[in-house]
């Protein structure tokens, strides 16, 4: 249907189109800024921040227009404790391990980043106090690729993980569901993540205090042969910044090419810059699952 509508619009355009020219409008001029990504969690072993630059949207393009900024000063502050994060060329990020920075639930963390030729950017996040530990694995469901009507299949079997968790009714909660398998795949293409390039986000608007079930997490594999593998299922209690940023990035990615949808404005809580500084809590359960053909 969408195709036919577009065909008709094309016919109209051909009938009525008068011309196309460079727009003579006042375009925004914007100097490059810093874009910052930091996600703090008491459950992580490292605290890591990525810093890149933004690039003016219009005009001539340059090579390496968006790059890692390696000479920035990244400072995280909490309760008068200043933490300077050094840059690691291995990870292309500024990071400290948990021995050198304490991420404490319920506390607010501030970030300030300065780099030559860029305006100073700042942001803050409050680490979620509560952690939801109600995640339960219910069952698994197997699906052979021949049962799926997808001609571009690259795997022979898919296993779905059905899970449930209960929302804490006292507060507003945002969640992310994810996971991975702890398994070295013998065949190419068998990646370990269970969200398969999706971002499964939830807010508790419609089910405050209730139980949610979901089987969106799945794993694709070529051959199982009765191997049993440990599967890590994770429920993240995420803060508002984490939720909004990832939700809008996901929407932007899906709809940016669609001329009929409203433009998606990606969320940012970075003052004078772009990106996000957010936090989350992580609860993980491990389930041994057999891969059958």
């Amino acid at each position: 249907m969408k195709k036919q509508i577009v065909h008709i619009l094309v016919i109209i355009m051909i009938l009525f189109l008068s011309c196309e020219k460079d727009a003579n409008i006042k375009l925004p001029e914007e100097d490059p800024k810093l874009s910052v990504y930091g996600f703090l969690s008491p459950e992580d072993t490292i605290t890591s921040v990525i810093v890149k630059n933004t690039h003016p949207f219009y005009g001539k393009k340059s090579n390496n227009k968006i790059a890692y900024i390696t000479n920035a000063r990244v400072k995280i502050t909490n309760n008068n404790n200043d933490y300077i994060l050094p840059f690691s060329t291995q990870t292309n990020s500024y990071y400290l391990d948990s021995n050198n920075i304490k991420i404490i639930p319920g506390e607010e963390y501030f970030i300030e980043i300065s780099a030559p030729d860029f305006p100073v950017v700042t942001s803050s996040t409050i680490i979620p106090e509560s952690i939801n530990k109600t995640l339960e694995h219910i069952d698994v469901r197997y699906l052979h690729s021949s049962d799926l009507n997808t001609p571009d299949i690259t795997y022979s079997s898919r296993i779905f993980f059905n899970v449930k968790w209960t929302d804490n009714s006292i507060e507003k909660n945002y969640y992310r569901l994810t996971g991975h398998v702890d398994y070295t795949a013998p065949q190419q293409g068998e990646k370990g993540e269970l969200d398969n390039n999706n971002i499964f986000l939830y807010d508790d608007d419609d089910w405050n205090g209730q139980t949610k079930t979901s089987d969106v997490l799945h794993y694709d594999y070529y051959s199982g042969g009765g191997i049993t593998i440990p599967v890590h299922l994770m429920l993240l209690n995420i803060d508002y910044h984490y939720y909004q940023y990832h939700k809008t990035v996901r929407d932007f990615d899906i709809h940016s090419e669609n001329p009929f949808s409203e433009p998606v404005i990606v969320y940012s809580n970075i003052q004078n810059g772009a990106g996000v500084f957010a936090s989350y809590r992580k609860h993980e359960i491990i389930k041994n699952v057999e891969l059958i053909n």
């Binding site: 189109l17 020219k21 005009g59 990035v249 990106g275």
Partner: protein, 775 residues
């Protein structure tokens, strides 16, 4: 002491005389002399009492005044004023016929009391002279009521060539378009480039932007009330017109002389027929084309002096088709309306109209395909269907009070999806239909009160009620308009109105696609609400036939729907997806407010007629879920909007028209910069960062402006009286100075540079048409 007693006695006598002097009622119908068509809104003025009334929407008038001898003036713009001397010593029923004034004899049509803006209690109301609609330059020669409405202050068009209407910051879904009491749900042909109202069959068009009378309800922003002609009761007459893209015909005449008449009017485009050889050669023999047609019909019957029946209908459809020997694809959409009205005069003070109303908008796809001697058939449709009834009473107890009251109820049937698939390869047919039924009702009472000659108050209350699947909403909607005459031709006016809207339109394309879908209010998506205040002055210059209105307004709308960023309603028309996509999750509700000033200088008759309109306005929106809760400019926020419409009659044979419009560009969202967005990976794969997405940074919603829109159109009409009628040649030029107005902008990214490109639609477009009006 003695003097005081005499004075008191005199006052008592006066009061007694006033209270108990015998009163009688003068009532009747006002018609046009030549065709015996009822004339609505005619002014009836009693010179001796300096008071009057006006005919209702069915040409009926009634005024109750003390016994006496009076001079009664009946006047209507464009018609010669009829003066009657009456001796009112009993109730009198007097039908009056007015004859058309000679257009160039300005004095004839200049009457002191005719349709003056300063005499009308209502503010924010514009009556469009139907004759002028035919004389204004138009796009490809197609006379279009909605495009003329767009030229009025307070009304904005969407984009180039579109007939969508944005009134005082409201959306096109917030306009109540009614044709003979029946709502029209999608008034657009060819994706909005033409509207369904061509003007041939119309008798009156009134645009109400605020201070809504209590009888109207169900939309927030405007009422466009159109009445079809009844048909000539005296003799047969008609008109034929041939234009560049369509032809049209009107025929009207008596069925039973002076008792019953009919009118039928039709129009069809023929772009498909003209282009067929080219299209066929380009598409390997596949016949592909597009056309639309309209049909208006009306019959009326005067049962007796106190009872009249009217039956009217509209049927219009757009068809896109593509077919060859094995494949037949047909896409269609259109409206059907029908109204049966019964006018009954209980007595000379109480008039009632009862209407039974039907309206339907439907979008359909029919696909038939043959393969291997087998057949595949798909039928899909969506739309809305209404069946309603209303009863409106007009009661005229005294010249100081005119009371309107009534009831209305409509059953809406929303059909978001109906699907049938038949395939010879499938054992069973697939069929599903989703229907949502709702009932919307209203009751109202309203009094036009004239406490003294200079003051008028139109106060009313509407109670509206809505039920859907156990969900109920109701609302009291107070309405009040008042005017006070400072001088004979200068009045100050003010109005307040509260409105409620129970249905919503899903459409985020803004270009009038037929897939736009009406949906009901639900538990989650509440009815839209609005309130509006307006105040201003109206000044008439009767010697020059000019009227000037200056009006300021403030309007606030709540619970209006917006589309979540990334939401795409085109998906809704995909046959299997309506149940899967919960539209309620794709919309979000918020608030919008608009304020501004409108100036209109209008001349309805004379050698030089037309108007100058200017609007200075601001429209903002605030949605908790959009733009991160920050307020932003509405897409059609227009700081300046100016229209000049001039029609000049050189003589009886030649008329020339010119239209110039200027409007601030639409607001739009443009990216500032691009950057690499990192997606967090809480699993240990790929160093905790799985992927980067190139993102655009927007400074916010609708922060930039398109270039201003301006355009000049010209036309010239050559009329010639022939033996059997009048023929007219018309030459029009659209966009005379070939302005490249922006239709939309898009970002063009090459390997070396990113640029913004502007797409314009119509360059200079000449057109011509021929019409012949039979006597």
């Amino acid at each position: 002491m003695y003097k005081k007693k005499i004075t008191i006695l005199f006052l008592l006598v006066c009061m007694f005389t006033q209270a108990y002097s015998q009163k009688y009622t003068l009532s009747g119908y006002i018609k046009e002399a030549k065709s015996q068509e009822l004339l609505l809104g005619t002014t009836v003025y009693i010179a001796e009492l300096k008071t009057g009334t006006s005919a209702n929407a069915y040409g009926f008038y009634s005024i109750t005044i003390p016994e006496g001898e009076y001079t009664v003036e009946y006047s209507f713009v464009g018609y010669k004023t009829e003066t009657k001397k009456i001796v009112l010593d009993k109730n009198i029923s007097l039908d009056v016929s007015l004859s058309i004034g000679q257009e160039l004899e300005e004095v004839v049509v200049t009457a002191d009391k005719i349709n003056k803006q300063s005499e009308d209690v209502r503010s924010s109301v514009i009556s469009l002279p139907v004759q002028q609609i035919k004389e204004i330059p138009s796009f490809l020669g197609e006379k279009d009521v909605l495009k003329v409405i767009q030229l009025m202050p307070g009304v904005q068009k969407g984009t180039e060539g579109q007939s969508g209407i944005y009134v005082r910051g409201g959306g096109p879904d917030q306009n109540l378009l009614i044709l003979d009491d029946a709502p029209v749900y999608n008034a657009q042909h060819l994706f909005g480039f033409f509207s369904v109202f061509n003007g041939d069959a119309l008798r009156s068009v009134e645009l109400i932007k605020g201070g809504f009378p209590a009888k109207y309800g169900g939309r927030l922003s405007s009422v466009i009330d159109m009445n079809m002609k009844d048909g000539n009761k005296e003799h047969y007459t008609g008109e034929l017109g041939i234009g560049l893209i369509s032809s049209r015909a009107v025929l009207e005449g008596p069925i039973i002389k002076d008792k019953s008449s009919f009118l039928i009017s039709g129009r069809r485009t023929y772009i498909d027929l003209l282009l067929m050889p080219i299209i066929k050669s380009q598409t390997d023999g596949v016949k592909t084309g597009y056309y639309f047609y309209d049909l208006n019909a009306k019959v009326n019957y005067d049962i007796n002096k106190k009872n009249k029946l009217f039956l009217s209908g509209y049927f219009g459809r757009d068809i896109f088709y593509s077919k060859d020997e094995e494949f037949n694809y047909r896409l269609g959409w259109g409206n059907q309306t029908g109204t049966l009205r019964w006018n009954h005069q209980f007595n000379n003070k109480l008039f009632v109209n009862t209407s039974i109303i039907y309206s339907k908008y439907n979008f359909s796809i029919d696909l038939e395909e043959k393969y291997d001697d087998k057949k595949f058939l798909l039928k899909y449709s969506s739309g809305i269907e209404d069946i309603g009834a209303k009863i409106d009473f007009n009661y005229y107890p005294t010249p100081k009070h005119t009371i309107h009251f009534g009831l209305a109820s409509t059953y809406h049937e929303f059909i978001p999806r109906a699907l049938v698939i038949k395939d010879d390869d499938m054992p069973d047919d697939i069929g599903s239909k989703k229907i949502i039924g709702t009932v919307e009702s209203g009751a109202y009472i309203e009094d036009l009160y004239k406490p003294f000659n200079r003051m008028q108050i139109l106060g009313g209350l509407r109670y509206s009620h809505y039920t859907h699947n156990g969900t109920k909403y109701d609302m009291f909607e107070p309405r009040i308009s008042a005017s006070y005459k400072l001088f004979d031709d200068l009045a100050v006016k003010a109005s307040y109105a509260k409105m409620q809207q129970y249905i919503h339109l899903l459409s985020n394309t803004g270009i009038g696609l037929p897939t736009d879908l009406w949906v009901p209010s639900t538990n989650e998506v509440k009815p839209q609400e609005a309130w509006q205040v307006a105040c201003g002055v109206a000044k008439d210059f009767p010697n020059r036939n000019l009227s000037l209105t200056v009006e300021g307004y403030y309007k606030e709308m709540d619970n209006i729907i917006g589309y979540k960023e990334g939401a795409n309603f085109l998906a809704l028309d995909e046959s299997s997806s309506f149940d899967e996509i919960n539209w309620q999750k794709m919309v979000t509700t918020g608030r919008s407010w608009s304020y501004g000033t409108e100036i209109l200088l209008q001349r309805k008759v004379g050698k030089l007629s037309g108007w100058l309109g200017y609007t200075l306005s601001w429209t903002k929106k605030k949605f908790p879920e959009l733009n991160f809760g920050e307020e932003y400019w509405a897409k059609y926020d227009r700081r300046h909007d100016f229209s000049a419409v001039l029609i000049y009659s050189f003589n009886k044979k030649i008329k020339m028209g010119a239209t110039w419009v200027y409007a601030t560009g639409n607001a739009m969202s443009m990216p500032l910069s691009e950057y690499s967005g990192e997606i967090h990976n809480p699993t240990p794969y790929d160093n905790y960062y799985t992927q980067s997405v190139i993102l655009n940074e927007y400074p916010g919603r609708n922060q930039f402006r398109m270039n201003p829109y301006h355009r000049l159109d010209l036309n010239i009409q050559f009329n010639k009286k022939k033996k059997r009628g009048t023929r007219t040649w018309e030459i029009s030029i659209y966009n005379v100075y070939n302005r490249k107005n922006p239709f939309f902008y898009y970002v063009n990214t090459s390997e070396t540079e990113t640029k913004v490109k502007q797409v314009s639609l119509f360059s200079i477009l000449p057109s011509f048409s021929y019409s012949f009006k039979f006597n």
